[in-house]
């Protein structure tokens, strides 16, 4: 029931966000329509960080409670996070090409996102290399915690690393009209709903799967 309501809200929000981005908000003067990718790019980046934070919290919760629910949450969130970070890494260069005239720059934000992507792909690889369910949950919970703690250190070291070179790019100076900022905030909200909808769906599927295996086991033991 809750998932259904969440699904409809998400549907309407994403639809509205698409309308706002493509038809309502004015084009940016210098870059033109390409700039619109920015609304999805920023929203995806936000979902990535949120998802990885959830992996961290779910990891701690799993190790404390040993409830496989938290493992399902962590696994689902990592998958969604990697997906959205991939979107960030694809939309980033498209934006960068027209904004900075280069596909890629080793700017702190981009580089940190790339390292983040590697960390959580590693998380998913750990899950696929362990076959015993309990060990898989334990290892990935541990890695989810260590990986997240690493993120701020990665960020600081990359920022210091890059500031030694002259600063070529500065995206904070972007002037946004009120319509633009409204669209941005709205699409971030829409993506957040999308995240929770996807999360609840994967967790639901995972729950059904484990319920099924419990029933099978009960039948075998009869």
């Amino acid at each position: 029931m809750v998932r259904k309501v969440l699904g409809w809200i998400t549907f309407v929000m994403v639809l509205t966000a698409t309308y706002l981005v493509f038809l309502w908000v004015p084009n940016e003067k210098v870059m033109g329509p390409v700039q619109k990718i920015f609304y999805f790019h920023v929203a995806s980046a936000w979902i990535g960080f949120l998802a990885f934070f959830v992996v961290f919290i779910a990891g701690i919760a799993y190790l404390v409670t040993r409830n496989s629910f938290w493992d399902s949450v962590g696994a689902a969130s990592a998958e969604i996070g990697v997906m959205f970070t991939t979107i960030v890494l694809i939309t980033g260069p498209i934006w960068a090409r027209s904004a900075w005239n280069a596909w890629w720059t080793w700017d702190p934000r981009l580089t940190t996102t790339l390292v983040l992507w590697f960390i959580y792909v590693a998380y998913l690889l750990i899950r696929s290399s362990v076959h015993e369910q309990e060990k898989k949950s334990r290892f990935s919970a541990v890695f989810g915690i260590v990986g997240f703690i690493d993120v701020p250190i990665v960020w600081f070291s990359i920022r210091w690393w890059r500031t030694i070179h002259p600063v070529v790019v500065d995206s904070s100076g972007l002037a946004m009209s009120s319509k633009m900022s409204f669209t941005l905030i709205f699409s971030v909200a829409a993506f957040t709903f999308l995240y929770f909808y996807l999360l609840s769906n994967s967790v639901f599927v995972e729950r059904m799967r484990s319920e099924l295996s419990e029933l099978k086991e009960a039948l075998l033991n009869r």
Binding site: F118, L125, I126, S129, R138, A141, F143, V146
Partner: protein
Amino acid sequence: MRYFAQVRALLWKDLVSELRTKEMVSSMLIFSFLVTVVFSFAFEPDSDTIKQVFPGIIWAAFIFTGILGLNRSFINEKGNDCIMGLMSAAVDKGVIFLGKMTGNFIFMTVMEAITLPVLFVLFDYRMKGSPILLIIVVVLGTLGFAAIGTFLSALSVNTSNSEVLLPIILFPLITPLLIAAVKATAVILAGGEFAEWSNWLTILLAYDIIFTVIPWFLVDYVLEV
């Protein structure tokens, strides 16, 4: 204290075993020489470029070689299920982490102590800064690498494709360590001022502390049966 007596016993066991076979250190040394030679083929050894990428070459050689040692670290314990015996005797699983980490640190330091001078000779590099500072950077970098590496090696040894998995899960996490170590080495080799390298040393130190303490807490969950 009982705790550290156990760490020492574990370390003693690993060192004796290594001294007997010399398997790990000798293969690490050969490998690090090979990496060095590969680099000199990849870049023109006499050019100015080499002077610029020299700090990077040092750390690339150390880290690729370090992975070899880390991969072996827990495999010896799995042979006769020794890890079980170890866990039945150790007061705490942190003992196993600290003992193994110290062992890996020592093996890597031995390899580095031999590789580093060879690198200087082969690339005819003359350093302007203080050798003591360089040693401090190498030690701090190796310490952090051994800490998180030992921890992830304990994790990966229990998976189906451990030797491939370890570098994939380790490299993203050591990004800050690698950046800080290479930068600090570059500044110190060029004879830079305190203000130029102090930040990097702070990162190295912070990384070492964080990634020794947190794995030490979490190792209980990794080595659970």
